[in-house]
């Protein structure tokens, strides 16, 4: 689906943001790209819909080199939800906002109506369809931004820092929503440093530090690997921190799921009593 081949990228200001990154995403993958600020996460995902073109190496989306295709064409396949919804909202109503991209992609009027309806319902925005996006709360604005991307039904959905500024309930809803999207066969890529959120979603994890990939694998292995986690300057999820402190009792250290942890602890207590 998306193949990243030894990509280097240097910004015009001569900052080398990516230094030889290679990765493959298959259709239906669910991947979290993690790492500290300035590790090159956002720079990397901006290559997937052609917003940035590699200085060296190549990014292949569905067999097409991103350097040979327009951003608009690539975006049709790869939807990108930006971190800050205020960077894209400009229409008078939520409905128009969601329809904006559909018009750009040249959908027919009837199809636009149907898709807008669908996307607005999907994200629970029916009440606000005639409101101005600027009057909505932060969480709602974020959902409008998400709806405006999902409306054209891209095969790949990239979410840049989806959890920032969201309360617990919104986060939980978002998690269910992402899992559901993935279950429907969409490739979902999230960029985040919210370890707890990743631990709950349990996707494949790609760790980045200083423009390179330092670790890749299932969340369980990556997020509980102290060395890797320290290299990427993130903290393991709280659950695995507890288990790391309990190694003396012969408990496993690669636990990130709360329910799994509960089962292991109950089992352990039963055995020891």
């Amino acid at each position: 689906m998306i193949a990243v081949r030894d990509v280097y990228f240097t910004y015009p200001s001569n900052v080398e943001a990516l230094k030889g990154v290679s990765l493959t995403f298959r259709s239906g993958d669910f991947v979290a790209i993690m790492g500290q600020n300035g590790a090159g996460k956002t720079t990397l995902v901006k290559h997937f819909n052609g917003l940035l073109k590699p200085t060296k190496g190549a990014v292949i989306v569905d067999g097409i080199d991103t350097r040979e295709e327009s951003i608009a064409k690539l975006s049709r396949k790869v939807g990108f939800v930006f971190q800050n919804p205020d960077n894209q909202l400009f229409c008078e109503t939520v409905e128009d906002e969601v329809a904006f991209a559909l018009r750009n992609f040249g959908f027919e009027k009837k199809a636009i109506q149907k898709r807008v309806e669908w996307a607005i319902n999907l994200l629970g925005l029916t009440r606000y369809r005639q409101s101005s996006p600027f009057m909505l709360s932060g969480g709602e604005r974020k959902r409008v931004a998400l709806a405006s991307v999902l409306a054209w039904d891209p095969d790949v959905v990239i979410l840049d820092e989806p959890t920032i500024g969201q309360d617990y309930e919104q986060k939980e809803k978002l998690r269910q929503f992402i899992v559901q999207l993935n279950a429907q066969g969409k490739t979902v890529i999230i960029v985040t440093h919210d370890v707890e959120f990743v631990a709950e979603c349990n996707p494949r994890v790609v760790l980045m530090a200083q423009g390179k990939i330092v670790g890749e694998g299932v969340g369980k292995q990556i997020l509980t690997n102290r060395k890797l986690v320290a290299e990427a300057s993130i903290v393991p999820p709280q659950i695995s921190q507890i288990f790391m402190g309990l190694t003396g009792f012969g408990l496993p250290t690669d636990v990130i799921d709360v329910y799994e942890a509960r089962d292991i602890l109950l089992d352990f207590l039963e055995r020891s009593s």
Binding site: N14, K46, F82, N87, L89, F90, F100, N104
Partner: protein
Amino acid sequence: MSVFEGFRFRKVFSRVHELDPRVKFFYVCAVFVIAVMFNQLLPLILLFFIQLPFVLVAGVEREWIRSMKGASFLAIMIFLFNFVFTYFYTEYPTFPPSSSLLEYSLAMTLRFLVLVESFSIFFLTTSPDRLGLALEQSHVPYEFCFAFTTAVRFVPVLAEEAQTIMDAQKARGLELERGNFIKRIKNYIPILIPLIVSAIRRSLELAEAMESRAWGATDKRTNLYVLKIKRGDYILAMISICMLILAVYIWIFLRDQIPPLIPLITT
């Protein structure tokens, strides 16, 4: 956004950076006046090259070249407009256009480049803080100084934000380069609205932050750093004055004797 790059200050230190902003501004004004006084090619070329040592001493070559590149489009426009319009206005049926016309157009272009050059040297080597300080010590009311420094400081921030907004809208299929002239202008609406909204939001936040840090609590502000005129500043001021006097002298007595360059080269 590349034009703004030239006006973006980076924290580096050199002899030029340490010069007093007031003196540097006087120098820029002197260059400005001289550039406007002459419309012959030779003095403008001299003026262009006289300033290069500043760029080298300050070590801002790359940023400077970038801002000159940014100005090149406008420079080409200025050249074409001058050349084409003056040609049709003065020489029209005769062909080819005379070398003096070419020289005049080149001089006008170079005048623009000299101005961009001197202003970008000034902004590249003067931090917004020192600039504000200079204004304050020149008895400009503090409200104006603050507004000015804030504006200068937020130009790169806004430029960066505009870039992000452009990316966000391009990711939603917006093609800025598509359509006829009017459509192309309309294409920028999805970029301008979020930009303006966020600028207003930012200014409200800034106002609140200022209030909570006791903005305007006392009439007479004091500063941690105070600008003092040093030896280097006197030298630059002297250089500027000498340049001005020389320029005025040439302008009054030798104006008609400045040789045109193109005949000199071609013969």
